[in-house]
Point group: C2
Chain length 697, copies 2
């Protein structure tokens, strides 16, 4: 598609206000070297090219047809394209799924025709695409971008138009630009894969509002991320999660969580606004990936040096500790008043040569992974000569990225432009330079994680998946979507997850019997598929210590529950052996519509909803992913043991996470699940699932 031998423009127009005119003109003006065939039944010639009545009249082969006819005519035209043997369609025309109703039908029909003839479709309802290297501008945008190393794939066509105009002023160049439109056929997954192979592209930018093929996205993006960075701006992050959640895990999983989790798994960087998206891109398209996150700052002014230090630390970078030989060299080369520790202040009267010495010394230090040069225009400052010094010195240290903030306007303009032209990202404010460098460092972290993640998945053979499926199918045949306590507990047992002894009692006598069998103290809990939060309706009694207390608790629970939840169907009361109190954690599962099952781990108990101290992974998870999940939460400090307290049995939690991961692989009907609390005991003493909720589809 990006490099066709010939292009037909169906709906080419002689009317300069028409899209079909701008399209053809852009293709011609882009310097495209292949054959161009305007198609329009009402014209003989458009923009100096012979015009054909229909695509079938075109003499040679047509690789790509760009369609800009009214929606009603698209189907017929596409059919003709198919018969002609066209390989790719780019449908600019609007009036499809985005208008609903018959538009949606029309879109389905379009896809059907494409499938029939083996054509691939970009759009409909899109701006088209650009390849600066072919070169080919198959859009109706008013501006042709500069040539560069950034590919930009966007679900919003207007964003492309605006960014194209904006990029000219900023000097940003593109390799490819793709407007996805309605994504009837070709989507972001396709283009990430395709552009992943493109030698002209160093970084892929993506603006999406939705992703449909979630798992494919993760798999493809993960592969491509290992070769080149992908940066995503996700529109609609604050959308209220409309789905009514039935579990804690569900409630803590907003619509955006799944995207974040998926992006993380795929090694995709998330930008939080347009400026970040492009500041990252500028860094990636020019600079190398550092070995780590230890950076140095060289400045000619104290204040901006302090501000830059603050920004670095806030964005997760560390300031390198220089070696003693670096310190000595700086001391000998710089004036006595200069600051020779990081940040290095070469002082306000520094000329280019002093910058050069400092940069060279600092970059040669092994503890420095990357560098930020700050320049403020003062009386003695030589911006252009300093820019030259930065360019020269940075070339000596190829694996170490250098970014610059030359703060100012006119006085530093020429120097900034020189830096940019030579591939050193130069910004007008330090915050942008720090962000750009932090992007490079983050990507290093992602690469390391992706490389580490080749580890195998474990499989437990001591599980009983057929019993698990049976439990679900019995509950389903009972017309339920939620397992009863006893069922959920049995499901856990089938997967080797420890639960306390318990049994369902349907009368006071049965409850007393059960309590005597397991020994006091016991807990009593209402069992009803309609009641998910038992404490809320007075359905729980703890520390019950004698037969008499069991009877009393049984009656109290039934009377309170029937008052608070009069419509709930009651299956009886679960009698459960009281177990010692452990650290209260939560482990849960949820199924995202786009990305599938995710597993959650975090702090349980009354503070679960207050702090939402949780971590997520897409399933299946590997042992090291499970361990990372545990380490990621803040409360890990407590699990590790603070203030001389004993450490928790983290290995037993890893075991639970991995078994749950396997459970949803083998029983994918489970859509939501909570173990809350999971009591975690001291090292070597395991953990136990106190309360288990399971919702299935």
């Amino acid at each position: 598609m990006f490099n066709p031998g010939s292009v037909a423009v169906i709906g080419a127009s002689r009317e300069p206000t028409k899209v079909g005119y701008t399209l053809l003109k852009n293709i011609i003006n882009s310097g495209y070297g292949g054959k161009i065939y305007p198609v329009n039944p009402k014209a003989d010639e458009v923009l100096g090219l012979k015009c054909y009545k229909s695509i079938s009249e075109v003499p040679g082969e047509v690789d790509l047809a760009v369609i800009a006819v009214p929606a009603q005519a698209v189907i017929e035209v596409s059919e003709e394209c198919g018969r002609k043997g066209v390989k790719y369609l780019t449908v600019i025309s609007a009036g499809f799924k985005e208008v609903g109703g018959e538009g949606a039908d029309r879109e389905r029909e379009l896809v059907g025709i494409a499938r029939k003839y083996g054509m691939r479709v970009l759009g409909p309802n899109c701006l088209g695409f650009i390849d600066s290297y072919t070169p080919l501008n198959a859009t109706f945008a008013a501006v042709m971008p500069r040539k560069g190393r950034i590919a930009f794939v966007s679900q919003s066509g207007a964003l492309i138009t605006a960014i194209l105009d904006w990029s000219i002023k900023r000097g940003i160049g593109f390799s490819k630009i793709v407007s996805l439109g309605n994504k009837a056929d070709l989507d972001e997954v396709y283009f990430i894969q395709a552009i992943g192979e493109d030698a002209n592209t160093k970084v892929i930018l993506l603006y999406v509002e939705s992703i449909e093929r979630g798992r494919e996205f993760v798999n493809v993006a993960r592969q491509v991320s290992m070769k080149k960075p992908i940066v995503v701006l996700k529109g609609g992050v604050t959308e209220a999660g409309a789905r009514a959640a039935m579990s804690h895990t569900g409630a803590m999983t907003g619509g955006f969580t799944a995207y974040e989790v998926a992006f993380k798994k795929a090694g995709v960087l998330l930008a939080s606004n347009i400026s970040e998206l492009f500041d990252y891109a500028i860094a990636f398209s020019n600079q190398s990936i550092p070995a780590g996150s230890n950076v140095a700052i060289v400045t000619n002014a104290g204040g901006p040096g302090i501000i830059t230090t603050d920004l670095c630390l806030r964005m997760g970078l560390r300031l390198s500790s220089f070696s003693s030989s670096t310190i000595n060299s700086l001391r000998s080369k710089l004036p006595p008043a200069a600051a020779i520790y990081n940040p290095v202040d070469v002082l306000g009267d520094a000329r280019a040569d002093r910058y050069r010495s400092a940069l060279d010394i600092v970059l040669s230090d092994e503890a420095v992974d990357g560098l930020i040069v700050i320049l403020t225009p003062q009386a003695m400052t030589e911006p252009v000569e300093t820019a030259k010094a930065v360019i020269e010195v940075s070339r000596k240290y190829l694996g170490k990225p250098v970014v610059a903030a030359f703060i100012g306007g006119g006085a530093v303009g020429e120097a900034a432009e020189m830096l940019i032209n030579e591939g050193i990202p130069c910004f007008d404010l330090p915050e942008r330079a720090v962000l750009a460098l932090s992007g490079l460092c983050k990507y290093r972290g992602y690469l390391d994680a992706l490389e580490k993640a080749v580890e195998r998945y474990v499989k437990f053979y001591d599980v009983d998946s057929s019993r698990a499926r049976e439990i679900i199918s019995i509950a389903r045949s009972d017309g339920r979507r939620v397992l009863l306590d006893v069922e959920a507990r049995e499901l856990m047992r089938a997967y080797g997850i420890p639960v306390p002894p318990a049994s369902l009692a349907k009368s006071e006598d049965e409850a007393v019997d059960a309590a005597n069998k397991m020994g006091y103290p016991v807990a009593l809990k209402i069992s009803s598929p309609q009641i998910l939060h038992k404490t809320d309706v007075g359905g729980v009694a703890l520390n019950v210590n004698s037969d008499a207390e069991v009877r009393e608790a049984y009656r109290t629970i039934l009377s309170r529950v029937s008052r608070h939840a009069p419509r709930a169907m009651l299956y009886g009361v679960t009698v459960q052996k009281m177990v010692p109190r452990g650290r209260e954690m939560i482990v849960g599962l949820t199924k995202d519509q786009v990305f599938g099952h995710m597993i959650m781990f975090g702090l349980g108990g009354i503070y679960a909803n207050v702090f939402r101290d949780v971590s997520f992974r897409l399933t299946p998870v590997t042992p090291s992913e499970a361990m990372d999940m545990i380490k990621e939460i803040n409360a890990y400090a407590v699990l590790r043991g603070i203030r001389g307290e004993a450490a928790a049995d983290v290995a037993s939690v890893v075991n639970v996470i991995l078994r749950l991961s396997q459970l949803v692989q083998e029983v994918p009907e489970i859509v939501e699940m909570d173990i809350n609390p999971l009591f975690v005991y001291n090292e070597g003493e395991g953990c136990i699932a106190l309360d288990v909720k399971v919702v299935f589809s």
Copy 2:
């Protein structure tokens, strides 16, 4: 100082590379209308003006002397200025406190001379100052700023130089610019007060690395904030808190916390980088303060509308819910495909008139406090005409701020400039527009809080401050800086803060006696001024239930403590009545070197250090401030009672906070203090201070 009748430049030079030349030239070129006297013993004329050998030779009165002679000569020259009756000195010269040693002595001498003659001093080691309205540019900067409504006061001179250059390109104008230098005399507090009165300034920007007069800063900034916004960029926020803390409260109070707390109390907005500082300033210098934080978005493109919505919600703005009449008007005026709910999408083919209708309808809705207009350049777009529409319509709704993001470069450049010239902040990307509007809304919140805060402080008369002082002085005479358990508990009793019954036992027998007096169960805790964290050294036994257990616990504690803390001086063991477990909270006090005493409230127990879920206020606090402290923490949800659990006795916590606030007013020697845990019981059941640590100076 800003509007002197005459200015002398001491050290005026004929050498264009000298600061004394640039200074004089800037004063002349700025169009200053008063008398200008160059002073230089070696010249008769400088830059066409008669030059005087010394200030005493100057014929008329001199209001301001700008001094740019070598540091060694500054003292003599200042003395002469004093004798001449000069009112203000601006000392450009470096070589004072910033070089340490004799420089610091020289600075003290300079201040002494100023005091003697009643002169005020700006600097030394500064760039000077600018007043665009006088007009007077008394700096050696290369660039004269545009005239505007922003005052910029900076501790970094280089930042001013850089920003001046940068501001020209951005079209940002200033009323006053002040370089504080070493702040030997005049500091940010002085200038905030002075510029607070200045009719030409609408917003005050401040860059500081340190504040010395903390309480004065808060008081002055608080007064000025009610009239005009102050925005601060604080350099050095990530500095490691060097002070070794002796309490939890101290440990959770980094060097920057005190600044944040003080800025909040003063109603000062905190910017996190240079770009934010100026985007806030641009909004404040042109737009009015909205009544609330409900905003509307009008856009001609879906993607940017979604991005802007995300940004608004992330920055704490809310999207207005339009009234039904607004919806109806929009429906009748806009094409059927337009989005008529917030954000309003007038569609890609919108010309200026459609924007005008939509803007007018939306701004007339009472639920809209402010508006963001987004424009992307598309085929039919009329940027300039749309800009005119924005200007016209916004003038009809004066109390409602309007900011714009015209995304692009060349295609929207003229329109953007027109908006900026007419006082509508227009940015190239939506994130900056949202930030600017959010600044206006935040300031509204601060104004409301400042107005609310006129409430009186309460004073408790049932406290025994002389007993409190006595407790401290006894401990001090004992050579200690930390109170013993029993003393701390008595201090609490003196201030009406509930503590459990307890007494210090110096032998097993005394411990048994004490336990019998108060009744079982009891707790035993080691009492030693050297041991702050008793559990860490095995110094605590809980739930001790009999005489025999008391004896055993007594012995165990002593043996464990003498093993873990062999050097600690042991005063005995405190026997304390066990009290029922409540919600574990923490209340603390700390004394910041700059801002004085701060009170802290938050989550106690093992998660205290994990989540640092705490709030701070400078003392003294009012009842509503105390209540706000409680509501601010995340764990407030738990105090309020979640899931049908009983609410906590919040009123009793307010009481504790207010009493502690009064305690440090009356006994200011207290520098650190923890009540950890404070057990808080159900509503009406109060709270109790379980463990109290008090450190005094």
